[in-house]
């Protein structure tokens, strides 16, 4: 049979099989009268079709009895059944691993309907069950008004897991917007609510990974709800990789909304959700997708997304496109008329609405490289808010620098040399070549050319530096690079450029180089100079754009960095000038918006910072005055928050402000007041937590308020009260960890609280339980560090717990045991320090612990500041430890690293060392 015949046969069969059997013969007679053979063939096939029954309808493995097939007729069988206390009404949809049913509580009227998700029978392999249970677990942690809520969960009689969700009735966000003809502003506002939900998930360490219109349903009252966390991923390190791996199995990806990294099978992060949200917003605003695929073959989609840049939304809306939508196989034509009709406006108005800000914002969200997108959904949403309020947005159009930097990141180290040469050339050109160039090619073109060179160089500086810091052994190159970058920036700063945006770039470039000098090259004096230059430019920007709030918040950040450098160098006068300016600046910002709790928080924070620094320089009275001022701002903040504290999130914030107030009282030594503030904070947080057990922040505030109340009571001498609070904190942490057995944060809380309870038990006279709990706490700390050793913060927190345990043991005379704990901490720190070039934090802690070990061997009395040890052995060991500590401190000092107490500690340890030497000399004589 030739292919033309085959095609004809197919068409006839397909058409005929759609007809009722009695009508088929007439159809065939009419359509293949001329070809008796064809007629015969189609008839035979139709007869075979009718008598085939369920021939090969079940997979071969089922036919041969290798596996049983319970999947077919499953839906019919389930309907009407009772699962747990729910009665199934009908099937709502089917996914890869399970089905979703509409259900209602069996013991009540059918009023309250829910969605019940049940794993498919036959799909219950271990891996799939694990993934199903993970989705349930994820939802249990997500209680947010814009996320479909988990109501219940359990296991059927057959042992299949299921869970029950809030049933959301509504339409997809795209359809809702079009049906209600929402204009651009209304669409943006609705979309920002979706952002809030996604951000909430991110705060709970969950990436959704499948954001698309069909997973964002808007209810009749206009509330968007996020659905389907079926392939979501926990991005904290505490989920085993096996669970994570299975999460991608068997899913049908929606390529139109998937980020480039996801399509390439690379790790997926919160940034991938930013990308998918970008696609959704692109579609909401322009009526088109960023990429129009000719086919949906995976290869085509992946290539298109990897290789082409999305068209600006303002351009795409004027085009006519035909595309196939993921959830609709029909071809859909998007015409400018249809798009503007659904968006309340003519096409020109719509285009002007998108040009500029919204183009830039969307293209920023849709960048190929995750690190070039918005750093968080919140930042994305904030930029939209700024746009809505007519403020300047963060997003800038992509230029040459973006495309070039892509190349750079791929060739990190090798590029450093090229960059150094380039920077030298560019600086020279800027200074000498300008006039000549203007004469030759005209001012406008010269400016444009220089603009490109400048942006390119700026991004080179930032890109290359940030990638170099993670490569060990590149310090000399980095030093040279920093110098060349500064030469270049200096030459640029001389240029008479009055553009606020350019100055902003210049200031942040100086801050970047400053951080590199401070934290990688340990050149504190150099860092200070760079920060000073940045701050000078930021001041100039405020003069140029006095109404632009971001110029002020940028300066606040610059001043903060400056104060960091000045504190490290103990340059008090300038330091406090910077702090004063920071406070004034925060006050100005507040004055412009006095009812803004965030701004009040900024003022309180700047007072607290100056207070902390004043206290570090032993200027306690002045410090107290600042803590009072901070307290006053916090009180205002509380009053403001009280008025609006209706929803759970606002009440969580309020409880946090009370915690802040407690800390402020604590700073002032007013323990009784502090204890009261913490108590109020605890009550509010507990109420919220009880009603919303999934709200992580509420739990944190519950534990933090009780913990700090315990501390305040301890200082008041109420040891039983303190113990009670610590025990409560431990209980909450342990319960939470039982629900999230792999959470590293909760492991830490449990370890910390166990040690605290242990120490408190000693104070009320329960000595044996006390030691037992402290040792248990140390074991938990060890486990905490072992599970997440690659994270620097884990090592800092974990060894700090070791220190607490060791200090307690030492204070009770168990010196040997305390020394052993310190030595273990030192081993852990040494290993971590050896693995990074940014090791100064680890080395600083090591110096501390080495000195502490010295103190223990020397039986150092901190009150009289004398050494009590008399045996030669102890004194020799003490001397060695002090010597080690001194060596570590000196090497840190030589690097010029910022630790404000470094000089004091150097002096202290060398005094102890010489006291040891003296004592040893006496023994000998």
């Amino acid at each position: 049979m030739n292919s033309a015949n085959r095609q004809q046969l197919k068409e006839l069969f397909h058409a005929a099989v759609e007809l009722a059997p009695p009508d088929r013969e007439a159809f065939l007679k009419a359509n293949c009268a001329a070809d008796a053979e064809l007629h015969c063939e189609v008839s035979a096939l139709l007869t075979a079709h009718e008598s085939a029954g369920d021939f090969i309808e079940h997979p071969a493995l089922v036919d041969v009895g290798l596996v049983a097939d319970n999947e077919s007729n499953r839906s019919a069988a389930v309907t009407g059944q009772q699962i747990g206390s729910y009665r199934i009404i009908r099937e709502l949809g089917r996914g890869g691993m399970g089905s979703v049913y509409l259900a209602a509580r069996a013991d009540e009227s059918f009023d309250k309907q829910v969605a019940l998700k049940l794993i498919k029978r036959g799909m219950d392999s271990d891996a799939i069950i694990k993934r199903f249970v993970m989705e349930r677990q994820i939802l249990a942690n997500l209680d947010h008004p814009n996320i479909a809520r988990l109501i219940d969960g359990g296991t059927t009689e057959d042992g299949l897991p299921y869970f029950v969700l809030e049933y959301i009735e509504g339409t997809t966000i795209t359809r809702y917007c079009d049906q209600h003809k929402l204009n651009t502003i209304e669409r943006l506002k609705l979309f920002r609510q979706v952002c809030a939900a996604v951000q909430f998930a991110h705060q709970n360490l969950i990436v959704h990974r499948d954001l698309k219109p069909s997973n964002i349903i808007v209810t009749a009252d206009g509330t968007p709800k996020l659905l389907d966390f079926g392939i979501a991923k926990l991005f904290s390190s505490d989920w085993s990789s096996s669970v994570e791996a299975t999460a991608t199995i068997g899913r049908v990806l929606t390529p139109e909304y998937a980020s480039p990294e996801e399509l390439r099978g690379l790790p997926v992060t919160t940034s991938s959700d930013v990308y998918s949200l970008g696609v959704v917003l692109y579609e909401l605003l322009s009526g088109h997708r960023p990429f129009n695929f000719e086919s949906r073959s995976p290869e085509d989609v992946a290539r298109k997304i990897a290789e082409s840049q999305p068209i600006k939304p303002s351009v795409v809306i004027t085009r006519i496109e035909t595309e196939r939508h993921a959830d609709d196989p029909k071809q859909i034509s998007s015409t400018p008329e249809a798009i503007s009709r659904a968006r309340d406006g003519n096409i020109d108005k719509l285009r002007r609405r998108l040009v500029g800000d919204l183009d830039n914002i969307l293209l920023k969200a849709l960048r190929k490289e995750p690190e070039r997108r918005y750093t968080s959904v919140q930042e994305f949403s904030e930029d939209l808010r700024r746009h809505l309020e007519g403020l300047p947005v963060l997003a800038r159009p992509d230029t040459l620098s973006y495309r070039t930097s892509k190349f750079i990141t791929r060739h990190k180290a090798g590029m450093a040399a090229v960059l150094i040469v380039a920077l030298t050339l560019v600086s020279a050109t800027i200074v000498t070549g300008w006039q000549a160039r203007v004469a030759r090619i005209g001012r406008a073109r010269a400016e444009r050319r220089f603009g490109e060179i400048r942006k390119l160089s700026n991004s080179l500086v930032i890109e290359v530096q940030s990638s170099l810091t993670t490569i060990p052994g590149t310090a000399p190159t980095q030093r040279l690079l920093a110098q060349k970058s500064l030469d270049y920036l200096d030459s640029l700063a001389q240029d008479e450029d009055k553009d606020v945006g350019v100055l902003g770039e210049l200031a942040s470039a100086y801050l970047n180089v400053g951080s590199l000098q401070a934290w990688t090259l340990f050149d504190s004096a150099g860092a200070l100079q760079s920060y000073q230059k940045a701050v000078a430019i930021q001041r100039k920007r405020i003069l140029l754009a006095p109404n632009d709030v971001t110029t002020k918040t940028d300066l606040a950040f610059g001043l903060f960095k400056l104060s960091e450098a000045l504190a490290g160098l103990s340059r008090q006068e300038e330091l406090f000038q910077a702090c004063d300016e920071l406070i004034e600046l925060q006050k100005t910002l507040l004055a412009a918006d006095p009812a803004n709790a965030e701004r009040l928080s900024g003022v309180a924070g700047s007072y607290e910072r100056r207070g902390d620094l004043l206290r570090a320089f032993k200027r306690n009275e002045e410090a107290n005055a600042d803590f009072h001022s901070a307290l006053a701002s916090i009180k205002q903040e509380i009053n403001l928050a009280k008025e609006t504290a209706s929803d759970p999130q606002a009440r969580v914030n309020l409880s946090y402000y009370y915690i802040q107030q407690g800390s402020a009282f604590d700073n002032l030594g007013e323990w009784q007041n502090a204890a009261e503030s913490f108590q109020i904070a605890g009550r509010i947080a507990e109420d919220v937590y009880r009603e919303n057990p999934g709200l992580t922040q509420a739990r944190r505030n519950v534990t933090s308020s009780h913990n700090q109340r315990g501390d305040a009571l301890d200082k008041l001498g109420d040891y039983r009260g303190a113990l009670e609070n610590y025990r409560y904190t431990l209980k909450v942490a342990t319960e939470a960890r039982a629900r999230n057995p792999n959470s590293s944060d909760l492991r830490y809380s449990e370890a910390k609280d166990t040690i605290k309870v242990g120490i408190a038990l000693h104070k009320v006279g329960d000595v044996s339980d006390s030691f037992e709990l402290v040792r248990k706490g140390l074991a938990l700390s060890r486990q905490y560090m072992a599970e997440d050793r690659s994270r620097a913060a884990t090592i800092f927190y974990g060894t700090e717990l070791f220190q607490q345990g060791a200090d307690f043991l030492a204070s009770k005379g168990r010196h040997e045991e305390a020394i052993a704990v310190y030595q273990e901490a030192l081993q852990i720190l040494e290993r971590s320090a050896a693995e990074t070039i940014q090791d100064s934090g680890f080395r600083n802690l090591m110096a501390r612990y080495e000195a502490a070990v010295g103190d223990l061997y020397a039986s150092f009395d901190s009150e009289t500041k004398t050494i009590k040890a008399t045996s030669q052995g102890a004194l020799l060991k003490a001397r060695n430890s002090y010597q080690q500590s001194l060596d570590t401190l000196r090497s840190l000092q030589q690097r010029g690293v910022f630790f404000s107490d470094l000089a004091n500690r150097l002096e202290e340890v060398s005094q102890k060392l010489s006291a040891c030497e003296t004592a040893l000399a006496k023994l000998k004589s």
Binding site: M1, R6, K10, F13, H14, V17, A44, L45, L46, T47, A48, H49, S51, A52, F55, I56, E57, P59, A60, L61, V62, D63, V64, G65, L66, V67, A68, D69, N70, E71, K120, R121, G122, M123, D124, S125, A127, I128, D158, G159, A245, T246, T248, I249, G250, V252, L253, L263, R264, G265, P267, S295, R296, S297, P298, E299, A302, P329
Partner: protein
């Protein structure tokens, strides 16, 4: 040491690039993995729990492929290969089984092989295999759809995804292929003496 899954991934990529040799190397790997899974399944005591074919294939895929660097399109390739492998497994077993019944089996078969196909298939697999090969001659697309659906255990939607067709097309072609095969097998029943009847 390169793991087996590295190897599978590379072979999948090669096959995707048109290297037929790679398929020849892949099949034994997947064949043995699927056999292993099927064997495990048969001897695992899990009352009330059953594995559907797709779940079986998913598990095989999971074991063979390192998910972190598997290219997205490889999953589609995998299902195609898995279906082929499954076809080969079942046909081979059916052939041996038929040989044993006829009493002319030259080779001994192991217990698990016998157990694997201990139940008499409703469908004459050997005849179906022949008919499917004949179908591939005149309509390779329909033949692939049957392979994926029947031997791979994929649903209409999954088949559509793997073959990059719309579900409606898959459904139409499947209906016709099924009719065609049924007709072909009915013909063979009349014309040929069945070895095991």
């Amino acid at each position: 040491m390169p793991s087996e899954s590295d190897n599978v991934n590379q072979l999948l990529v090669d096959w995707g690039n048109g290297n037929q040799q790679a398929l020849e190397e892949l099949l034994p790997l997947i064949y043995s993995e699927l056999r292993h899974l099927a064997h495990n399944f048969l001897y695992r005591e899990r009352p009330g729990h059953t594995l559907q074919t797709t779940a079986l294939v998913h598990e095989a895929y999971l074991k063979l492929i390192d998910q972190t660097d598997a290219h997205w399109q490889n999953r589609a390739h995998f299902f195609a290969i898995a279906a082929q492998a499954m076809r080969r497994i079942l046909i081979d077993s059916a052939r041996k089984h038929a040989a044993v019944k006829r009493g002319r089996g030259g080779e001994k078969i192991s217990l698990d092989e016998a157990a694997g196909i201990s139940l008499e298939p409703d469908t004459n697999l050997l005849a179906l295999d022949e008919a499917l090969t004949a179908l591939a001659e005149i309509d390779p697309q329909q033949s692939r759809i049957v392979e994926l659906r029947y031997f791979g255990g994929l649903t209409i939607e999954e088949t559509a995804e793997v073959m990059n067709l719309s579900p409606a097309t898959v459904k139409r072609e499947w209906t016709m292929a099924r009719a065609w095969l049924y007709q072909a097998l009915a013909g063979s029943r009349e014309g040929l003496a069945e070895p095991n009847e």
